[in-house]
């Protein structure tokens, strides 16, 4: 079992998973698009030089190549920044991988405000919506090192294509080694009965954890779910917390349209209409800035989560 507690960046957790998979499965190959040093995929290259391909700045071709390699029984992991993995190579991922039933694990780094200093051109909020439209794949966004490592191993085991969105830099160590983390099953971090906060990704789960404390001091006991798997949706857990709390706030470093909040609302509307609120980027494009600035600018803060909860409880 890999010890993730000393890893310093999320990208290291992802590369630990891919490198371990590479050791166990000679079919695993890694393709990058001139962003090798950004992900640290050169660590895979050092271990398995013949199974690493830097495809240059040509993401559409890279994803199509990966599909071809899959048809040769290889299992490609493919990396670019999330804006390019999703938008720029979308038709290739949808058709050559999805429709053609090839298995490709697509990595999108620096989604939403984690794109930070690369700014608005590199800041995809819509990648969740795009990837949710590809039938049959897994979409996940880990909130810490251990879940990133575990979920990636499990995504591989599904034998189906996947899309992972995660920030490269910085890391949270929320789950100790040995924590039960199951792809497709959200994790309950608190089980209060007054309101449920469902958060996806490192930024939002982290801010929501802080908000929990502030709410508790006001006498509000919240449920908090780390919904690391976006597709397939953990409807069992969502229905459970809807039953328990009756009110849900969904927090995502993404858009409402096609996003996690809309997916949850759509499901609950059919089985258990529930009063809901949302925290997302709204109709905004990205912009440049450091993470702390962007959290404030987009309202992705514990304070704003607290405010949204109080409004929801009015």
């Amino acid at each position: 079992m890999r010890n993730t507690s000393d890893l310093e960046n999320m990208r290291d957790a992802m590369m630990a998973a891919i490198n371990d998979l590479g050791k166990d499965h000679k079919e695993v190959v890694l393709l990058d698009a001139d962003l090798s040093s950004c992900l640290g995929s050169d660590s895979f290259q050092a271990l398995f030089p013949e199974r690493f391909f830097n495809c240059g700045i040509a993401e559409a071709n890279m994803v199509g190549m990966a599909a071809g390699l899959s048809s040769m029984k290889f299992v490609p992991f493919v990396h670019s920044f999330a804006c390019f993995s999703s938008r720029r190579a979308y038709d290739q991922f949808f058709l050559s991988c999805g429709y053609a039933k090839q298995t490709v694990h697509l990595l999108g780094t620096d989604p939403g405000i984690t794109a930070q200093l690369n700014g608005g051109t590199h800041m995809p909020f819509e990648d969740i919506a795009l990837m949710r439209q590809v039938p049959g794949i897994t979409v996940y966004e880990p909130s810490d090192a251990q879940s990133c490592y575990e979920l990636t191993l499990q995504a591989y085991e599904t034998g189906k294509s996947s899309y992972a969105r995660f920030g490269r830099k910085g890391i949270t160590h929320r789950y100790p080694v040995g924590t039960k983390i199951e792809l497709g099953k959200g994790i309950e971090l608190a089980d209060g009965k007054d309101v449920a906060i469902i958060a996806t990704g490192e930024v939002m789960v982290g801010e929501a954890e802080k908000a929990l404390e502030a709410l508790k001091s006001k006498g509000i006991n919240a449920t908090l779910v780390d919904l690391h798997t976006i597709k397939p949706l953990d409807v069992e857990l969502i229905e459970k917390v809807a039953d328990r709390c009756g009110k849900i706030l969904v927090c995502e470093n993404g858009r409402y349209a096609g996003g996690v909040g809309e997916a949850i609302a759509a499901h609950l509307s059919t089985v258990k209409p529930t009063k809901m609120a949302y925290l997302n980027c709204g109709e905004r494009y990205g912009e440049v800035g450091k993470l702390d600035y962007l959290k404030e600018a987009f309202g992705f803060t514990a304070e704003n989560i607290e405010k949204k909860v109080l409004e929801l409880l009015k």
Binding site: M62, G64, A67, S96
Partner: protein, 280 residues
């Protein structure tokens, strides 16, 4: 060099495959006749003279593979695969019918013998690069053959694949451009001129040849030369005629997809047979 008897056999086979393709589309009442007819010779040569494939074992691991990136030429590929024995020729009358195994564009999950799904133009080129790379990683002696349309080559993805194929020195990738000089809306000359396409591939450091795409001798010389090039991929530009052998579509602009019935199909086949008289 192909023996004369072989050339004659392939020529007869090509005519048979043209008839199957014309009937297949005529039975449906409409389809991509133009770009199907222009690649009959290259398909005939590859499947009946060159490729290491086994219709009884279509997924044979170390087979040569073909990606028809111009996926709308599916009807021609289906006629070839049926005649080769991958599936019964009766299937050809199910083209595009609901539930068919022969959809308008090539589908690896439906049709035995199709090595990759294509239809969104440009995408087959990248898949072929990946397949050729995979063959090399698996240390197979196999080749990947790729057919790209000249109109399709307006897609940027083709040139991304060109670059990466050359960078990886994929000597086992042999591609063909079906230079039939026409596309859906008319002549490539008027829309996105492809006459100098050979020099473009040369610029990407591919081994390039340009030949008469309807001549088996020329195809044979070019393919055998390409197989000897080990340090870069090969592009063979096939000078072809769109709708070749389907008289109602020859020499007209609107021959990409045509509506015609079985009667027209039989009349066209009669014309084709008259032309081929010396060989019958």
């Amino acid at each position: 060099m192909l023996e004369q008897a072989k050339v004659e056999a392939l020529t007869k086979k090509a005519e048979e495959l043209r008839e199957l393709t014309i009937r297949e589309i005529g039975h449906l009442g409409a389809g991509h006749i133009g770009g199907s007819m222009s690649i009959i010779e290259i398909l005939t040569y590859l499947y009946f003279n060159e490729m290491n494939v086994d219709p009884k074992n279509p997924k044979k691991e170390d087979r040569d593979r073909l990606v028809c990136s111009k996926g709308h030429a599916g009807p021609a590929v289906y006629a070839v695969l049926a005649n080769k024995g991958y599936f019964p020729e009766e299937w050809l009358s199910t083209l595009n019918q609901g539930g068919t195994n022969l959809p308008s564009h090539c589908d690896m999950n439906r049709t035995p013998g199709i090595d990759f799904t294509t239809g969104s133009l440009g995408q087959g080129t990248s898949a072929a690069v990946g397949i050729a790379l995979g063959q090399r990683l698996k240390k197979q002696e196999a080749f990947t053959y790729l057919i790209v349309g000249d109109g399709e080559s307006q897609e940027g993805q083709v040139w991304e694949a060109a670059e990466v194929g050359a960078q990886n020195k994929l000597g086992n990738l042999i591609a063909f451009t079906d230079l039939n000089k026409q596309q859906l809306d008319g002549y490539t000359f008027d829309i996105g001129n492809m006459e100098n396409i050979g020099t473009r591939w040369l610029g990407f450091n591919w081994h390039v040849q340009r030949i008469d795409g309807h001549s088996f001798q020329a195809i044979d010389r070019a393919v055998q030369a390409a197989k000897k090039v080990v340090d870069r991929p090969s592009m063979i530009i096939l000078d072809t005629q769109k709708s070749r052998g389907f008289a109602p579509g020859e020499g007209i602009s609107a021959n990409h997809s045509m509506k015609f019935n079985e009667k027209t199909a039989e009349e066209a086949i009669k014309v084709l047979r008259e032309r081929m008289g010396g060989l019958k």
